[in-house]
């Protein structure tokens, strides 16, 4: 199983993760333990490495979990989390309902058409995400939908469809055609062959697609900000407000940490599912 070079490759991947994911996460975590201050940057305490060990100890003593206290005191956080999870869950369901037939049609299309169809699904990526969502305001505005929940669902479904379709297409395209023939041979109608063979075998693709969409959708900011109304409550928007409007960095970081913790749950579930297979 192990090939020379595989370890080095794994090391590179872990190093990349450590530098670009773990280190910023640690920074955010550290910030979430501090307090707001009228300073630049607007928080205290600040770590000065020149102060040596006593300075470090004083710094650590000044950290606390006060910023997290607001989750208990202020209901708006809990509401924002729940409503974000709600939006993401509903949108994931819509994406599955729209994306599955699309992926299936692509996978069953004549072989020479498939690259073209995959290209068509990824085509929107050639334009900036922000511009595409902004363009939707021009469509949803005249339709009288701008600011409504429907607008958010339309935006989420539109923006995340490729992330649902591509993993589904990957598993459906690999499906062994003789399995469907075997099902038909054993008395299954096409409909029943789909539900007893194709659907269960495509479950990993559906799970991957659902995760790829659900997780970023929970923290989505641009879509609720541009397409939602003033009463749209999503955690991404709340974090943005804490950062840029209230200049409360610790609160924003605490909210972000809570989001990471919430999203680790579905990922862990997915990993368990993967291992069981």
């Amino acid at each position: 199983m192990k090939r020379p070079g595989a370890e080095r490759l794994a090391f590179a991947a872990y190093a990349w993760l450590a530098v670009f994911f773990l280190a910023p996460l640690a920074l955010v975590f550290k910030l979430s333990l501090s307090h707001t201050a009228l300073a630049l940057p607007p928080y205290a305490p600040q770590l000065h490495l020149g102060d040596g060990l006593p300075g470090l100890l004083a710094f650590v003593r000044a950290l606390d979990f006060d910023a997290y206290g607001r989750f208990v005191r202020d209901r708006i956080y809990l509401d924002a989390y729940l409503s974000s999870l709600g939006y993401a869950a509903v949108a994931t369901g819509v994406l599955l309902a729209v994306g599955y037939p699309l992926a299936l049609a692509m996978a069953r299309a004549p072989r020479r058409w498939r690259p073209l169809l995959v290209g068509a699904v990824t085509l929107p990526f050639w334009t900036s995400f922000l511009i595409r969502i902004y363009a939707w305001t021009a469509i949803l505005g005249p339709a009288g939908l701008l600011g409504s929940d429907a607008a958010i669902y339309i935006g989420l479904t539109y923006a995340y469809l490729p992330f649902m379709v591509l993993p589904l297409y990957a598993v459906l395209e690999r499906e062994d055609e003789t399995l469907r023939e075997a099902a038909a041979d054993l008395g299954a109608t096409p409909w029943s062959a789909f539900w007893t063979v194709t659907a269960p075998l495509s479950l990993p693709g559906a799970a991957a697609g659902a995760l790829l969409c659900f997780i970023p959708m929970v923290g989505e900011f641009v879509i609720p900000d541009l397409l939602g109304g003033p009463r749209t409550l999503m955690i991404g928007k709340l974090i943005w407000t804490e950062f840029f409007a209230n200049r409360d960095w610790p609160a924003a970081c605490a909210a972000a940490m809570a989001l990471v913790a919430t999203l680790a749950l579905p990922i862990a579930l997915y990993r368990r599912l993967e291992r069981r297979r």
Partner: protein, 327 residues
Amino acid sequence: MSEPLIRFDGVSKRFGETWAVRDVSLEIGAGAFFALLGPSGSGKTTLMRMLAGFETPDEGRILLDGQDLAGRPPHLRPVNLMFQSYALFPHLTVAANVAYGLKREGLPKAEIAARVEEMLALVRLESLAGRKPAQLSGGERQRTALARALARRPRVLLLDEPLAALDRRLRESTRAELKAIQARLGTTFLLVTHDKDEAMGLADRIAVMREGRIVQVAPPQEMYAAPADRFVAEFLGEVNLLQVEGGWRAVRPEAVRLAPFGHAGPGEALRGRIVQATYLGDRTAYVVALDAGGELRAVQVNGGGPLLKVDEPVLAGLPADAPVLTR
């Protein structure tokens, strides 16, 4: 002969410009173990897939029990196929694979359980009922596929190269087992293969196909002894084709009797010299250069007598009943 179970009546099938099956008419009786034998591309698989319902004939009719199968989709045909790749459902256990077809029929639970048990016993897989296909050996997968295809008690069981994926030793025992199961159930088996040993060892009747057409239909022994043409003669095993007036005389190597020069027995014999001798334990394969020109292959059973040596002059006795082929 009463009405055959299966009748192909002038069946043709074209893929693009090429005819995969061309005007095939064939009758298969109930309870037969029938083999479609031919090289790849001869149309045997297409013919079988048309019976299963996966391909539609362009011309002709296929009748089962006297009923035209045209327009009937695969799931409504009383025919089951054991796929060459086995096509086991990877997400289902052995027992669930066998039960699959029974569930589609909507049989009561107790009956399904009883039938699954019966089928697993038939192929000796009771102890592996809870395993997934990925946890099975090649032979166990093959037996699961057989049990699954037989569970619905089909009128005809189609076997697509059933032994091809097995290693040689397993092939021998599986062949015997398959034959025993067919004899026990009395189900009509239709075997498709490119392997003449598989066809001759299993079937009681063989149809040899070539380029979409049927060349000859006969029981194995008869076909081996009296092939319709040179293609069949060569496809069924090694053969010497000696040019004679009006055709070729087909002499099987094992029918040639070699004797040291001067020891000729009764009957016709050709003079020659051994140019190659390959010792194979139970037998020895010789190549004889004939004095009259040409080479003759001969296989002799090693019965204790002295072996013939290279360069030794010999007399090759030919059987009197060797057929003369005109094509």
